[in-house]
């Protein structure tokens, strides 16, 4: 297969950045999208040109490190997959493909397609945990959890923190990411003690990081490679509201 690639090149955070176009031939339909960039990079190195930088690691769709907009969509055209799990058979031979980094104020560009997502880590640090020290915990089966609850908490817990939700949102809102963690822990008995405090602190940190507001358009959920449901945002709003009301009593 043959492609014309329009790729955003930006040397570093200070650089202005611009699109550059590359022609790539001899692409196999079995290649993953990242393997296709690997091939391009080998050719660039051959020509003494700086290879395209992009974040990637497990290449199994789990670590959440790979990112990038492909033709205007986070992680590309397929539903439910990360960029590393997108294969070239999903594209038309001869197609022009536009590749850009996540665009969000809270995710500054590091280089080319790599952005800084440490804002997500700081949101988790604000309360995305159960405060339990190592050791001295009760036997696991002393905390029974109905299967339906465990399953629902699990659905929220599958978020991989890739940032596609932020990238898909016209306001660069992080509501889907934050709500997934708040939902998971608010449903489980272990998360009850800090439930109200967690919702308030995580939401406050999310705002402090410069993520935008949610307008319920649902683009985040539609583009989420793990299918995190929009209902988590509703749950988070309830958690936040009841925490606010509770704290005034």
């Amino acid at each position: 297969m043959k492609f014309k690639l329009k790729i955003w090149r930006q040397k570093n955070n200070q650089d202005k950045g611009a699109f550059k176009t590359y022609d790539l031939d001899g692409v196999s339909s079995d290649m993953s999208f990242l393997e296709m960039i690997d091939v391009l990079n080998e050719q660039l190195i051959e020509k003494d040109e700086d290879p395209v930088h992009f974040d990637h690691d497990c290449r199994e769709g789990i670590c959440g490190m790979c990112s990038m907009y492909i033709n205007g969509e986070p992680h590309g055209p397929l539903k439910g997959v990360t960029t590393c799990q997108l294969h070239m058979r999903s594209f038309q031979d001869g197609e022009t493909i536009t590749i850009e980094p996540w665009r969000a104020k809270a995710f500054p560009v590091v280089k080319d397609l790599a952005v800084d997502r440490s804002a997500f880590d700081r949101v988790i640090q604000a309360g995305g945990y159960v405060s339990v020290n190592t050791g001295g915990t009760p036997d696991a089966n002393e905390i029974p959890i109905p299967k339906s609850v465990a399953d629902e908490a699990f659905d929220a817990a599958t978020c991989i923190g890739c940032g596609a939700c932020v990238a898909a949102c016209k306001n660069a809102s992080a509501m889907l990411f934050v709500s997934a963690k708040i939902s998971q822990l608010s449903m489980l008995p272990q998360g009850q003690v800090e439930r109200a405090e967690r919702a308030q602190k995580m939401v406050a940190q999310m705002d402090a990081e410069g993520f935008g507001a949610c307008t319920n358009t649902g683009a985040c959920s539609a583009e989420c490679p793990k299918g995190i449901d929009l209902s988590n945002i509703a749950r988070m709003n309830r958690e936040f509201l009841s925490a606010k009301v509770g704290s005034q009593e």
Binding site: E42, C58, I124, G128, A140, I145
Partner: protein
Amino acid sequence: MNLESKIPEGPLAEKWTNHKFNVKLVNPANKRKYDVIVVGTGLAGASAAASLAELGYNVKSFCFQDSPRRAHSIAAQGGINAAKNYQNDGDSVFRLFYDTIKGGDYRSREANVYRLAEVSVNIIDQCVAQGVPFAREYGGLLANRSFGGAQVSRTFYARGQTGQQLLLGAYSALSRQIANGKVELFPRTEMLDLVMVDGKARGIVTRNLVTGKIESHSAHAVVLATGGYGNVFYLSTNAMGSNVTAAWRAHRKGALMANPCYTQIHPTCIPVSGDHQSKLTLMSESLRNDGRVWVPATKELAEKIRKKEIHPNDLSEDERDYYLERKYPAFGNLVPRDVASRNAKYVCDEGRGVNETGKAVYLDFRDAIKRDGEDVIAGKYGNLFDMYKQITGSNPYKEPMTIFPAVHYTMGGLWVDYNLKTNIDGLYATGESNFSDHGANRLGASALMQGLADGYFVIPYTIGNYLAGEKYEKVGTDHEAFKEAEKAVKDNIDKLLSIKGSKSVDQYHKELGKIMWDYCGMSRTGEGLKKAKEMIKELRADFWKNVKVLGSNEEFNSSLEKASRVSDFLELGELMIDDALHREESCGGHFREEHQTPEGEAKRNDEDFAYVAAWEYTGPEKPETLHKEQLIFENVKLTQRSYK
């Protein structure tokens, strides 16, 4: 050099309890006077950093990814073992210990493995308390399944994402300590050297991967939790960034590297599709609970399938050879990984492989779907089936999956004693980066167990014993030892950038990987290993003359990162070959064709090789010195492993 394992006295079941009582304690008020560096944020690293910070130590945590949550532990799918006996099926700490020792082909340390089995029960409690959403039964209690190498159901799981959920649990514990100010986090930062002062580990030199800044960090102790080195094979199930650099640089500073030739080949990976391939994707071993492994009964049928003249679903029962069930009736499809992998290789070597390359066997869910219904199977493995379909374009609900073995986990690593301390004072190694618990082979669902056991429940006790004897005074990073190490790191980087040759780093890495897979992979011969040793020597010499690394140090430079890592893989590769060559026996993941039983199974030589081979670095291009730690088995009888 005398390798002291420091195994505590007393009966096996009491060793750890006694040891915990006997170790020296650090007064809670004094813990804040000690600094500890933890390199790596996977299960072993994140759990260690969080637990040490909870105790009161000042922790610096390092990872090369953009966030600790990306560590490769996240990709472990299947589950984590624990001797809870919730299923009332005869499990016990001793049985988990016994299965692990036997599964490791009697090349691991009894006391370490027993401790692992003992603390396994606490791990589950800890993770549940953190809110890790394990699978549940309808009554609300935890669900279990069975895994390769075991006849009891002791594996706890979270759909096919157990590693992810456990890592996020450890990451959240770590995040809490970062917020508390007890852990300082350094993402996108790579350790490039270990700093020794007066013979003790006192810090590390790092490179900021974004700015290229070389920095020194001082501490009273250093914990390496840097994972395995399977990427020496280029194609493996490891994440792209997984590397040996931190451990290897420590090795060059005197830490012994033990059993480097023990590589686990995982039996259920998606087969290679072409030269462009950058990594191999693992299908969880848990699939073997319900999937049946088979190949066509004859070469002729296999050939027709390869040519797509017939479809696998068309074959009748007697045209299928369920070779694992046939050869190992007691364990069937759940034989340990080394046995399953080797048998897949054999049937493909016979010409009965089923994809275009001839290197694939079937994993078939037809009977399970008929028995339990598609919904039940989708409930158990849905995401794995989706992933398989995504990668291969074929639907495993309708036709059998194809699988083939691939490099997965390295059982070798830095030598450590019972306290997880290397032979260097103040330097510890945990999880996959040490050699201690898995012997020559690893049972399924035991890697997550070891990572968390080491991080949550072992290192917090044992490191205190060391620190209690250390002075509070800090060594400043202006100390000569730091300056020297920084200079060495900078010189090495300058050298890589100055070569300006004609071959890319990836080309060298691919060549190295091919040599390792062909000659030091699923089976090895003395002759092949000798040949490979020469090939690697030549490749390494060529690398330092001809590698092309563009750009500069003072920028985000992925070629430079890779070049530095591949230069270490080139050295490690040769040591793996030396280790495989000297071990004139077959055990677990190390299969020397010269040493096999008449039935083609691995034949150990306990008389001469029941030891840990620990290698000492003696200088560039010099042969390493072999030290032996004799393995003493007091509680299990060494027998030929049989899964028939």
